[in-house]
Symmetry: C2
């Protein structure tokens, strides 16, 4: 039986996870594989772009957020997947060496009508820098099994 | 001077890129790093989940789409970044070995008022399987430099 089920996630609560540093090596490794634009690969080239210096790919910040979420609370949960993301905002560049904190806000939740034994929890996730400034913000629903419904 | 600038992207056009296969190894490598949930890592464990078998992390499908986009048309363009993603839909599981085609629709475009020399192009990207079924769909604006504006 997983530790965190639908019933344990409370609407209106705000929690933080981390911090965890995002390194230059990680930024370049992700970019080399998935998003080899100069602003994500090379400090000198990045200086002449809109980002004004090396910064993580937006999709990398989402992937990084996913991993912090997994380690923070999905790992031992009844999470069963997501139909997609409502909105993703890449507000400010994510620089190498930044200590990122994941802030999770639970917007609302409801028992699923179409999938017995499951409920949908809508989250807002933010990656914050050391000063508490939001760099990336994602709003997304996730399906969780109910403890009492056997949906997991 | 980049090959593709704001002026070259025509509202209402639809183009395809690829196909490219997504491999089991890639799915597991991404999942191990960013989203180690059982349905993205292990065939046997995945069979007992909502996905009914091994499938790529949703964030992996977005990363894969990003790379197909880069190779398809961003590489030699004046693309300067994006403020975020309007909507991401993970419609169907992306299975190992699927030959994915990227379909790009240009929804609309406008010259930027706040950033002289740039324009915003709104795209819908879809990853299609061999049968032409949409598995992942992303709606997202990207800033491009104008050929005539020097914004790159």
């Amino acid at each position: 039986m997983p530790r965190i089920c639908f019933e344990d996630l409370e609407e209106g609560t705000v929690d933080t996870f981390g911090p965890r540093a995002i390194t230059r090596e990680e930024i370049i490794a992700y970019a080399s594989e998935y998003d080899p634009q100069p602003m994500h690969l090379d400090e000198e080239a990045a200086r002449h772009t809109m980002l004004g210096g090396l910064a993580a790919s937006g999709w990398h910040t989402c992937s990084f957020l996913m991993r912090m979420m997994y380690d923070g609370y999905l790992k031992d949960s009844s999470a069963a997947g997501s139909p997609g993301v409502e909105e993703t905002r890449w507000l400010k560049p994510v620089r190498p060496g930044t200590q990122l904190t994941l802030r999770r806000s639970i917007l609302d939740k409801r028992v699923s009508r179409s999938r017995p034994g499951f409920g949908v929890v809508r989250f807002r996730w933010e990656l914050l820098d050391e000063a508490g400034v939001t760099l990336t913000e994602v709003t997304c629903p996730i399906l969780f099994g109910l403890r009492e419904g056997g949906g997991q």
